[in-house]
């Protein structure tokens, strides 16, 4: 939670926006297309932040957000423009958070589509924009960075007109950096975005579209009142969670948190209700009055469901309690990831964690390492499979070690995605090649403009979680953008490849792959491990196997020579110290099938430098 001391208080405590008309809007934009800069300009233009306290990317409070140029937690801010109250709702900017995005959009009547005029519209932006249009949001399309020499507003406008059907004459041109065109943009928001509907007389229905944990106040939720009035001190009921609370504090962010007596229909603000865990105030929750509840919650609530899984293990086994502690703390602020204890022969004790997607996984891992100072090993990401057994029963599994024996299997279903790639036409071939090698099936191909096209694939999630995005970026020099959404499951010929060191399977390397890819995965892992495992006193076979059948084999040849030629004077001390260090080092080794494997070998082997 951000705590800012901003002296500016435009409202007497308890005041609502009164008769002043309201406009609720969000900004839909791709990474680096200038959303944070535009937000900064809006805060300045509307005098919402004292110029002395202004800093860049004001609304991105996490270091990670600033560094990666993405928004992880949604923010909202109330500003004034030409006698209107504007609520700017900042949405999370990544494909993993589509549900969170959808809730933020549900709190708005309009959206500013912000597109970098030198790059054109990107896949995720397009997907979010479609989502906004489906929700009947008014789109205000804006081309940003028109001050750049590389800007090509004409082409971009044509593209937007073609893809989204927005008249190119309606598309604004601004430079968020210099501020040029930003007042006109705010005017357009006032003119084009419809005011919120909703009656103050009907029972309260308010939408929670984000919740964050504050160690002093507990959970602080961002909230949009749809119907009725949310009063400070009133008894409220969370319709999905089925819990009752007291509205301890209701307020607005301008952007400093300012308590108010009540929030009326159409208003956006925050709610503190004495909740200790964000999982009990999820995005999409409908808040109503405990005394006079609404008959129906707002539509569109979904329980967050992890899509991507991996094992997280402390590099130093002694740090297990610290890892558990960190996961529990993080969970307070992010209800969408899950974790449960797991033990691995190779990696020791750790946790099996579930995430909304790959970025989410990376963010959680990075926060664990940074904010809690932990060193972690992550296993290769996996997805949720359903195994249908010959006896007619079903087993759900995401840990490859839990995949049932082939003899008991009838078939396995794997989760699928509908993936959209937007790419300059020069890279069509390489993108198609990548998607095909990952078992993608093309659904559609459309030229957005003569230079850019949209490719839509149905592709297994498992193929996307392993290094797909990095490959896409590197093969297209960073020009491709990707969006995806779940698209059911498909039955696939999947097998588990086990990796054995000296005939002992190493659970951390077991992976579920399509049968056609088993050999190449097996070869890659065995080759990699051969180069990583130190030579022993005996030959060490490294095998990849499917069921009982070995599909790849390498041998770490026995050491032939390991001796210092000279042992005089200082050599004696050096030799002894070396041995003492080795004995220390052995504590960091895992013994697998009598083979001493350094922890680093596991870490390197699990690194996703895919060479497919």
């Amino acid at each position: 939670m951000k705590t800012i001391t901003c002296s500016l208080t435009r409202y007497a405590p308890g005041a609502v926006s009164g008769s002043r008309p309201i406009r609720n809007f969000s900004i839909i934009s791709h990474v680096d297309h200038g959303k944070s800069t535009l937000s900064d300009r809006i805060l300045e233009l509307t005098h919402a932040v004292d110029p002395r306290l202004m800093r860049e990317q004001y609304l991105d409070s996490m270091d990670l957000e600033r560094e990666r140029g993405i928004t992880i937690k949604a923010q909202n801010v109330r500003v004034h423009w030409r006698d209107h109250v504007l609520h700017l709702i900042d949405t999370p900017g990544h494909v993993d958070f589509t549900y969170e995005v959808s809730r933020s959009l549900a709190a708005c009547e309009g959206a500013v589509l912000l597109v970098d005029a030198s790059q054109g519209i990107q896949a995720q932006t397009l997907a979010t924009c479609y989502q906004a249009i489906e929700n009947d949001l008014e789109i205000v399309a804006v081309l940003n960075k028109i001050d750049l020499p590389a800007a090509d507003p004409e082409r971009c406008a044509t593209e937007i007109e073609r893809v989204l059907g927005i008249d190119s004459s309606q598309i604004l041109r601004i430079s968020a950096k210099t501020g040029e065109g930003v007042p006109a943009l705010l005017d357009a928001v006032v003119e084009r975005v419809p005011p919120p509907s909703g009656s103050p007389e009907t029972p309260l229905r308010a939408l929670i579209f984000d919740s964050a944990y504050d160690q002093y106040r507990g959970v602080v939720s961002s909230i949009r009142v749809v119907d009725g009035v949310l009063r400070s001190g009133s008894r409220i009921r969370f319709m999905q969670a089925g819990s009752t609370h007291e509205a301890e504090e209701v307020g607005i962010r301008s952007p400093a948190s300012t308590p108010v007596d009540q929030l009326g229909a159409g208003e956006v603000g925050y709610l503190v209700a004495g909740i200790k865990d964000v999982g009990r105030a999820r995005s999409g929750e409908t808040v109503t009055s405990a005394e006079r509840p609404a008959p129906e919650p707002l539509a569109g609530y979904r329980d967050p469901k992890p899509m991507v899984f991996c094992g997280l293990f402390p590099l130093d086994g002694d740090e297990l309690p610290e890892l558990r502690d960190a996961l529990e703390k993080l969970k307070l602020n992010d209800s969408s990831f899950t974790f449960e204890p797991e033990s691995s022969k190779a990696l020791g004790f750790g946790f099996r964690c579930g995430f909304l997607g790959l970025l989410h996984m990376e963010i959680v891992r990075e926060r664990l390492e940074r904010e809690f100072d932990l060193s972690l090993i992550a296993t290769a990401p996996s997805v949720a499979y359903v195994a249908h057994l010959t006896d007619g029963s079903e087993i759900h599994f995401e840990n490859p070690s839990d995949m049932p024996e082939a003899s008991r299997l009838d078939h396995v279903d794997e989760p699928m995605l509908r993936a959209t790639v937007i790419v300059p036409s020069d890279y069509t071939g390489t993108v198609m090649e990548l998607c095909q090698s990952r078992r993608g099936e093309m659904l559609r191909m459309e030229y957005l403009s003569p230079e850019r096209l949209e490719l839509v694939y149905r592709i297994p999630l498992a193929e996307v979680v392993v290094d797909f995005f990095d490959q896409l970026k590197s093969r297209t020099k960073g020009y491709a953008s990707l969006d995806y959404e779940p698209a059911g499951t498909q039955t696939a010929n999947l097998v588990r490849v086990d990796v054995l060191i000296n005939h002992v399977p190493v659970d951390a390397f077991s992976t579920v792959v399509h049968r056609a890819q088993a050999d190449s995965y097996g070869r890659r892992m065995t080759e990699k491990l051969r180069s990583l495992i130190p030579r022993q006193l005996f030959d060490v076979p490294i095998q990849a196997a499917v069921g009982g059948r070995v599909i790849a084999r390498e041998t770490v040849k026995a050491k032939r020579k390991d001796v210092l030629a000279k042992c005089y004077g200082g050599d004696i001390t050096r030799k002894r110290k070396l041995l003492e260090r080795q004995k220390e080092g052995k504590k960091r080794m895992k013994s697998i099938g009598r083979v001493e494997v350094p922890q680093e070998a596991f870490v390197s082997a699990l690194r996703l430098d895919d060479d497919r």
């Binding site: 042992c567 004696i572 001390t573």
Partner: protein
């Protein structure tokens, strides 16, 4: 580098000597075998050239400091005498560097200052190109009674390959002169396993040495080792191949055995009674005092090492008489570990108990060791894996 007498804190600790010597009593029969002899090692850093493979502390083109160096050795010795090192010495070893670069007069003065028991061994490392009849006579007159001749190789292409600037014929010529001098004991060093060497080159060198009228009583064959920060390290084309090194080692072991040499340590073979007593004592855990830059000492339960650079060592000794750079007191388990590691490198071997636990888990170890009574001794293949085996030694199992 500051030239001042930058003495480390370790030195001050050392100045509080004499301490109680480390207690080694009760460590078992194996450890009681420590020889009751005391050696003196003198490091003579002067060299004409810096060989490409060499990582020793050497001083090229610094011969003008030889006089000061000799005075400082005497001073350093005097300081340690005052602190009670158990002189007279049973063995003296002049190593380098190149001790044969030292003018015989200075050599005589240094040796004259080191009290020795009657019959003490005095070994001197000699560069073949420094060896003449006159020089040899002068060294012997100064007290030297054993020569260790740094032949290294007898073929031009092998010498070039390892980066030693030495005339190809110099080695055997010098060996001939030593052979004729009638010393009871003398040794030759060879560097083997370089990519420029063939099996035939190595066999030829061993044949030639054995064919001398009075062959060396000891032959040392050192597998070419790439030390970091050497010219050799930067030239990977000259780096040795593990398989070649191993084969050359086995070849040398066979050829030397055929000529009556038995291994006395990983890299040393000697005829009966012909080994270097100074080094044999070192490997069995004996104590010694090191003088000169980079010299190491082992006495009174401590090991310490002198300043490496000639100038720094000189400055320290001239200022205070001692130039210790690093020093440590050995814990009892460290004493045992050292003794085991050293013994493993020799035909004495280690007590079976020190490896019994490891052999249970890794039966492969047994294939590298031959039983000899209650001891286990590395066989030929095992010697090449000596350090790997040492990793399994369990000092705690002795007791």
């Amino acid at each position: 580098m500051p030239a001042g007498p930058a003495r480390s804190p370790a030195d001050n600790r050392l100045l509080t000597l004499p301490d109680e010597p480390a207690r080694e009593a009760g460590l078992g029969g194996f450890l009681d075998a420590k020889p009751d002899v005391f050696g003196v090692y003198v490091h003579v850093p002067f060299c004409r050239d810096h060989c490409d493979y060499c990582a020793f502390s050497v001083a090229v083109g610094q011969e003008h400091l030889a006089e000061r160096y000799s005075r400082a050795i005497e001073r350093e010795l005097a300081v340690w005498k005052d602190r009670g090192v158990p002189l007279p010495a049973d063995t003296v070893y002049l190593g380098g560097g190149t001790p044969s670069r030292l003018p015989p007069r200075l050599l005589a003065e240094i040796l004259g200052s080191i009290p020795r028991r009657p019959g003490a061994e005095v070994t001197m490392e000699v560069n073949p190109e420094d060896l003449t009849d006159d020089a040899l006579a002068a060294w012997v007159a100064a007290g030297v009674n054993r020569i260790s001749l740094g032949v290294q190789a007898t073929c031009a292409h092998v010498l070039a390959g390892i980066g030693r600037r030495q005339d190809a014929s110099a080695g055997m010529q010098a060996a001939g002169l030593v052979s004729a001098a009638g010393l009871d004991s003398w040794g030759v060093d060879l560097i083997i396993g370089s990519p420029s060497e063939t099996d035939a080159d190595l066999l030829q060198a061993i044949e030639s040495l054995s064919a001398l009228e009075m062959p060396p009583s000891q032959v040392s064959c050192y597998l070419l080792t790439v030390e970091s920060r050497t010219r050799l390290a930067r030239d990977w084309r000259r780096h040795p191949d593990e398989e070649v090194l191993s084969r050359r080692y086995e070849l040398a072991d066979e050829a030397l055995a055929a000529h009556g040499y038995q291994w006395v340590e990983i890299s040393n073979w000697a005829r009966p009674g012909g080994g270097c007593r100074h080094n044999l004592a070192t490997w069995s855990g004996a104590e010694y005092l090191g003088l000169g830059p980079s010299a190491c000492s082992h006495w009174a339960g401590r090991r310490w090492e002198n300043e490496r650079s000639l100038r720094r060592w000189l400055a320290c000794v001239e200022a205070g008489g001692s130039a210790v750079a690093e020093s440590e007191v050995l814990e009892p388990y460290q004493v045992i570990l050292e003794r085991l590691v050293l013994a493993l490198r020799t035909p004495s071997g280690v007590p079976r108990s020190a490896l019994a636990g490891a052999i249970d888990t890794y039966p492969e170890l047994a294939e590298l060791l031959d039983p000899s009574g209650e001891m286990l001794v590395l066989n030929r293949r095992g010697r090449l894996l000596c350090d790997a085996v040492a990793g399994y030694l369990d000092p705690a199992a002795l007791g």
